[in-house]
């Protein structure tokens, strides 16, 4: 069983039966222990996803979005180590569950779709083999029942002639088609939460719009929650209820989508929005990759002390170089982590 070592003790086990968000991530830290040193890819991240809600996670390349979302299923790749934090999903801290329990949750309660459809389907197994295997493992249905269900799902994700597709191999499908298969695979067991890590980045612009439409539609129909990781402000604007902005392994700001776009507080969020041509809330089909802000994100191998953003921040004060801001609420449902917005500080070691 692939699962990364967890070295954090659980300070307060979740109280069973207590109503809470579907998913709550608290103080998550994931570090890569490489030969060159420790890469602090995710370094104290909190966010929550309510039932039926879509959370958008945005941030520049390398800000730790993928590592954070993989860690929700305890799947960050080998040199990764979960150093601290909790991932509470449906009342259980997943980081403490035995591998067997985790395997029951993966694919059944929480499923994932991947960025690159070309590499996320096994090249030597047919579509049918890949889909039915998962169904049969989780539900124990017969081969024929599994095939029928798989065909049903292919129809649901907008693939015509599903019976023929089931016999095909990934290399015989187009990129958009592969991504639809990937989505169908994630939806096989009707999960409560769908993780989507840049589901459209690798696709053509026209296909991107179709896939987003499909996701929005499916979320409605299956009343799923979703975590949508992306570079693209246009995508979150259109899809997300709440947005978490990440920078260099930490969360800068979390708020409702409207608030993020209309009243952003964190200087980084503002910089992000300013560098995007005016965002209207409808997806125009244009590709909007996160714009370049002057300077480069810090090297997480040698993360600077203080606020990670200080060297690129237009509002940086001397204290920002020394003190790491901690997240705090500036309004109900709106938290920011910036000393200039009144965040409490945390001495950096």
């Amino acid at each position: 069983m692939r699962s990364i070592p967890v070295s954090a003790p659980d300070p307060s086990p979740a109280k069973a039966g207590q109503p809470g968000p579907l998913l709550a991530v608290e103080g998550l830290k994931v570090h890569f222990h490489t030969r060159d040193g420790v890469v602090r890819a995710v370094d104290g991240v909190d966010f929550q996803v309510g039932t039926g809600q879509t959370l958008g996670i945005v941030g520049e390349s390398g800000s730790g979005k993928t590592v954070a979302s993989l860690t929700l299923l305890r799947l960050a790749p080998p040199p990764a180590r979960i150093v601290a934090g909790r991932v509470v999903f449906e009342g259980e801290n997943l980081l403490l569950q035995p591998d067997k329990r985790l395997a029951e949750i993966r694919g059944r309660r929480m499923a994932m779709i991947f960025q690159n459809p070309a590499t996320s389907l096994n090249p030597i197994l047919s579509v049918g083999q890949q889909l039915t295997e998962i169904l049969r493992w989780h539900t124990g249905v017969s081969r024929q029942a599994a095939l029928d269900r798989a065909a049903e799902l292919l129809t649901l994700v907008g693939i015509s002639d599903p019976a023929a597709r089931l016999r095909q191999y990934p290399h015989e499908l187009s990129g958009g088609m592969k991504q639809r298969v990937g989505i169908a695979r994630a939806l096989l067991c009707e999960p409560a939460l769908l993780l989507a890590d840049e589901p459209t980045t690798a696709l053509d612009v026209t296909i991107q719009a179709q896939i987003l439409d499909l996701l929005a539609d499916l979320r409605q129909r299956l009343s799923m929650s979703m975590v949508l990781v992306t570079h693209d402000m246009g995508v979150v604007a259109r899809m997300a209820d709440r947005i978490t902005v990440m920078y260099a392994g930490r969360v800068c700001e979390t708020a409702d989508a409207d608030t993020i776009f209309n009243a952003p507080q964190h200087p980084y969020t503002r910089a992000l929005l300013e560098s995007v041509p005016r965002i209207d809330h409808s997806y125009s089909g244009a590709r909007r990759v996160l714009p370049s802000i002057a300077g480069r994100p810090p090297d997480l191998l040698h993360a600077p002390p203080g606020c990670r953003f200080h060297d690129r921040c237009p509002e940086a004060a001397p204290e920002c170089r020394r003190t790491m801001p901690r997240e705090h609420l500036v309004a109900p449902g709106h938290s920011v982590s910036c000393l200039r917005r009144g965040s409490p500080g945390e001495e950096t070691p």
């Binding site: 490489t34 030969r35 390349s61 390398g62 080998p78 040199p79 480069r296």
Partner: protein
């Protein structure tokens, strides 16, 4: 994952000054932390030192078989002969020590020949392209699938007969040189393929394009920009090839097709294999020497691979 940084004009200028010397220093830095590579380096150094100073410290002359006259052949290790004596009364330790220069000559000689041919063929194929490329690579493929070892055995034996009565016969160690030549002739295809691949990759690399834009001559591009950058993977291949050639010569000699006039580990094995039961040390000593040397070069190559492409491993 990397930002699209390499394509910014700044970095093109930065890489314009040939492969930065830093590449080598970085590689050495990484190499030093690679345990396997360092063990390999130590073993190879050991063999090289043995080859250089061995003849001065070896307890006996390699052709001194006085023990046989004393009736002390196949004698077990003792204070007098640390690794015992062999069937012919030679001191096993001395002969094993004298085998080191032969082994290195075989390894280095064969790979020198292979590199010369390989870089030339691969470079021309990669640089010229088209029909030349196709033809040369077909040829390389031919040499790659020929059952090398079997052919070498036959050729060595037949060549030995052909030269009888010609002036070539008087060249010392002519037989060994034939073996080296043959091993070289059959090991160039890998080097040619790698060189070609590197040349194809580098021909359109940004810093080469940039050099071309500012009017650097093709010759200079070839020697100052492409070749040095193609070097790291070639060095790895050569290190592996040295070990391989040494092993091949040992096998050829073990089968009795070696050069009777030179002292090689394979020869010692050939002479003593019949008396394995009574004098195992006479086989184990040269066997271990071959093992240590080949292992050294293999580990060295492993460390070098790692040092040159840090991305391969986490």
């Amino acid at each position: 994952m990397d930002a699209d940084f390499a394509s910014s004009p700044v970095s093109v200028l930065a890489t314009l000054q040939r492969p930065p010397a830093g590449v080598w220093r970085q590689a050495w830095h990484r190499f030093r932390r690679n345990r396997a590579g360092m063990i390999g380096l130590v073993l190879v150094t050991l063999v090289v030192l043995t080859a250089i100073i061995g003849p001065f410290v070896a307890p006996y002359d390699p052709n001194d078989n006085a023990a046989m006259l004393r009736g002390a052949s196949n004698a077990a290790p003792s204070a007098r002969n640390w690794l015992g004596t062999d069937r012919n009364g030679y001191d096993v330790l001395s002969r094993t020590i004298y085998g080191a220069p032969t082994a290195l000559a075989v390894g280095l000689g064969a790979m020198l020949i292979a590199s010369l041919i390989g870089v030339l063929v691969g470079g021309v194929a990669g640089y010229v392209g088209g029909f030349t490329d196709e033809a040369l690579m077909r040829g390389a493929e031919f040499f790659m699938v020929v059952p090398v070892f079997v052919v070498i055995l036959a050729v060595v034996r037949l060549f030995g007969i052909i030269v009888v009565g010609t002036p070539l016969e008087r060249i010392p160690n002519f037989n060994l040189m034939t073996i080296i030549l043959l091993l070289g002739l059959f090991s160039w295809p890998q080097i040619a393929r790698m060189t070609r691949a590197e040349f194809l990759r580098l021909r359109h690399a940004e810093f080469v394009e940039a050099a071309r834009c500012i009017g650097t001559t093709p010759r200079e591009i070839l020697f100052r920009h492409i070749l040095p950058n193609a070097l790291p993977p070639l060095i790895v291949l050569v290190a592996l090839g040295i070990g391989g050639a040494i092993l091949a010569e040992a096998m050829v000699s073990f089968l009795g097709f070696g050069d009777p006039k030179s002292i090689s580990w394979g020869q010692i094995l050939f002479f003593n294999y019949q008396s394995l039961k009574v004098a195992p040390w006479a086989c184990l000593a040269p066997g271990t020497a071959i093992f240590v040397t080949v292992l050294g070069f293999n580990l060295l190559a492993d460390g070098l691979t790692d040092a040159f492409n840090p991305r391969v491993r986490a």
